[in-house]
């Protein structure tokens, strides 16, 4: 047995597209630009990154759906390009969202079909399907058509489908996207139970709390490269020496955000919409108190609660990602 469940070395993927017939225009997008990582057997590993960072492409390179432009990857010691079938026998793939199931069939029919496809022996299928329906808490609803399911139920069915053939490595690509908080908590519980049984899980997510709660190690990917890798505690160090000011506001414009970003001592400033309000998070050097300057810059804007706190994993993540964005912006400026 290989020491690692997942190994990737110098993994790259470029998408090429062509538009127009008479004067065709070719376009190249480098989605993954050299990813190196190893995931141990039984590890729950998180891949965190903003939209377009290369998370899904990385997963698809590892699970054989895409062929790398360069580099190599092995799953349980098998090469993803040359030993595709061996890899596929050992992996499960679950992605978030509404798609990926036969809506007009029942959950049981969906599982039965995929059990056949994934080579679950006929005499085992009935028992395995019942076990999985129980695991994802769909027992009693298995004969209803999938089109009548809520998003959370579909997502749980996705997980059951991904586990039919007892994969050693499970790829979860943003499984909690669009799922309500209660369903998301149930999902996290299911994933944690899986990892406890020895299944290696590679999870991609936008949600920091999810990664923090579940993952032993996390890689932050941005711009197609791994920017930071470590345990959640290690990643938090990326925000060491900083403090965070959070301001609830209504009507902060991009111009004002830019002004705040340029204030002395400010390292990061980000704006998130939460319901009707905006939450402005300003990271600054720990020894500089920027509160007065920030409030001055927000003069005229209706404000709510103002709090100062220690940085979290999310702040560390923002710091890492913004550093990449800043570097790319600097590279884009002509000399």
């Amino acid at each position: 047995m290989s020491e690692y469940a997942i190994e990737a070395s110098g993994l790259r993927r470029t998408y090429r597209s062509r538009t127009g017939w008479l004067r065709p225009q070719r376009r190249e997008v480098q989605a993954v630009r050299g990813v190196d990582l190893t995931v141990g057997n039984g590890e729950l590993f998180g891949l965190l990154g903003p939209n377009g960072a290369g998370k899904t492409t990385t997963i698809k390179l590892l699970n054989t759906l895409l062929i790398p432009t360069a580099g190599t990857a092995r799953i349980c010691g098998f090469d993803v390009v040359g030993q595709t079938r061996e890899v596929r026998r050992r992996i499960g793939y679950v992605f978030g969202g509404d798609r990926g199931l036969y809506d007009r069939l029942s959950a049981r029919d969906n599982l039965r079909y995929f059990a056949e496809l994934y080579g679950v022996p006929g005499r085992e299928q009935k028992r395995r399907i019942a076990e999985l329906l129980e695991l994802v808490r769909l027992t009693g609803r298995e004969n209803e058509r999938v089109e009548s399911y809520s998003r959370g139920m579909r997502q749980r069915l996705h997980i059951a489908r991904g586990l039919l053939h007892r994969p050693r490595v499970l790829f979860l690509d943003e499984p909690s996207i669009g799922v309500d908080p209660v369903a998301a908590r149930e999902l996290r519980q299911t994933v944690a139970e899986l990892a406890a049984t020895g299944t290696t899980v590679l999870l991609t997510t936008h949600y920091m709390a999810e990664a923090d709660e579940l993952c032993g190690r996390i890689a932050v990917i941005a711009g197609g490269r791994i920017q930071a890798l470590g345990t959640p505690a290690e990643l938090r160090h990326h925000a060491d020496g900083r403090r965070v000011l959070e301001v609830e506001a209504y009507g902060v414009t991009d111009d004002r955000l830019a002004v705040i970003h340029a204030l002395p001592g400010v390292r990061e400033a980000s704006l998130e919409v939460v319901g009707a309000a905006q939450v402005l998070a300003v990271q600054s050097d720990a020894r500089v108190d920027v509160q007065a300057d920030v409030l001055r810059a927000l003069d005229g804007v209706r404000l709510g609660r103002v709090t100062a706190r220690q940085p979290t994993l999310e702040d560390a993540y923002v710091a890492i990602v913004n550093r990449v964005d800043g570097r790319r912006a600097a590279e884009a400026v002509p000399a």
């Binding site: 026998r89 992996i91 199931l101 496809l117």
Partner: protein, 252 residues
């Protein structure tokens, strides 16, 4: 696996409101088209041949749209990636889909004959009912295998439906499903000769009207179809790899 897959795909297909509406309307349209075509041609005695030809058009449409449309549907449903991830030869994964569409196509044949009988009083006096009962499923299975070859192209093309639309009418025309091949330009002959649809249509027509020996035609249809199955299986393996390189398994 092939049987369970074909059955469940047929179940999924037959529950689509669009498919149901199409299955109800298209056979009436095709039966009407065939009847008026033959009446206008001053050959009212060949009504059964017309109805059988129209039924075959339905089977072909189902296989063609089934192969192309089903692959595209799998893409829209997000299931194409999931089924291609199965540790099986790609041809084995796709064959149940094309067989399911051929199965639903059998209904088109039955419905066209029934509507022909009910609306236009076409007598269902088959020259050799046993041969007809064998030739139709034989032709359907043959076309299902041909569908695999078509499907391999559709896996690669993201806009597969554009291709299906352009293939529907030329193939049934060249195959002589409705209009005899003899009235078509000479250059269509070699094309017709290598299409399993031509031989399948001929076998079914011969069984219905007694115009010739059914078994040789059916044999040629199945032989060409098995060739298509083998070519489709090889193509599918190649195309699956190409699709992974070109990233065309998903919609985006």
């Amino acid at each position: 696996m092939i049987a369970v897959g074909a059955l469940l795909h047929a179940k999924q297909l037959s529950r689509s409101p669009f498919e149901i509406a199409t299955a109800l309307i298209v056979p009436v349209v095709q039966a009407t088209l065939a009847v008026y075509l033959f009446r206008a041609g001053g050959e009212p005695g060949r009504m059964l041949e017309a109805a059988v030809g129209a039924g075959l058009m339905g089977v072909w449409s189902s296989v063609l749209f089934g192969s192309g449309g089903a692959i595209q549907n799998q893409r829209w449903l997000g299931t194409l990636e999931m089924i291609m991830l199965a540790p099986r030869p790609p041809a084995l994964v796709i064959l149940p889909i094309t067989l399911a569409t051929a199965l639903t196509g059998t209904y088109a044949m039955a419905a066209t004959l029934l509507w022909g009988r009910l609306l236009y009083g076409i007598p269902l006096d088959f020259a050799d009912p046993v041969a007809f009962a064998v030739a139709v499923p034989g032709c359907v299975v043959g076309l299902g295998m041909f569908g695999l070859l078509l499907a391999s192209t559709f896996v690669l093309l993201r806009n597969a439906n554009a291709l299906t639309n352009t293939l529907e009418y030329p193939i049934w025309l060249v195959s002589g499903m409705l209009v005899p091949i003899t009235v078509l330009p000479g250059w269509t002959g070699p094309i017709a000769a290598v299409l399993p649809t031509t031989w399948g249509a001929r076998a079914v027509r011969e069984a219905a009207t007694g115009s010739g020996a059914v078994w040789p035609s059916l044999g040629v249809c199945l032989a060409i179809s098995i060739g298509c199955l083998a070519a489709g299986a090889l193509m599918m393996t190649y195309v699956e790899r190409r699709a992974r390189a070109a990233a065309t398994l998903a919609l985006a």
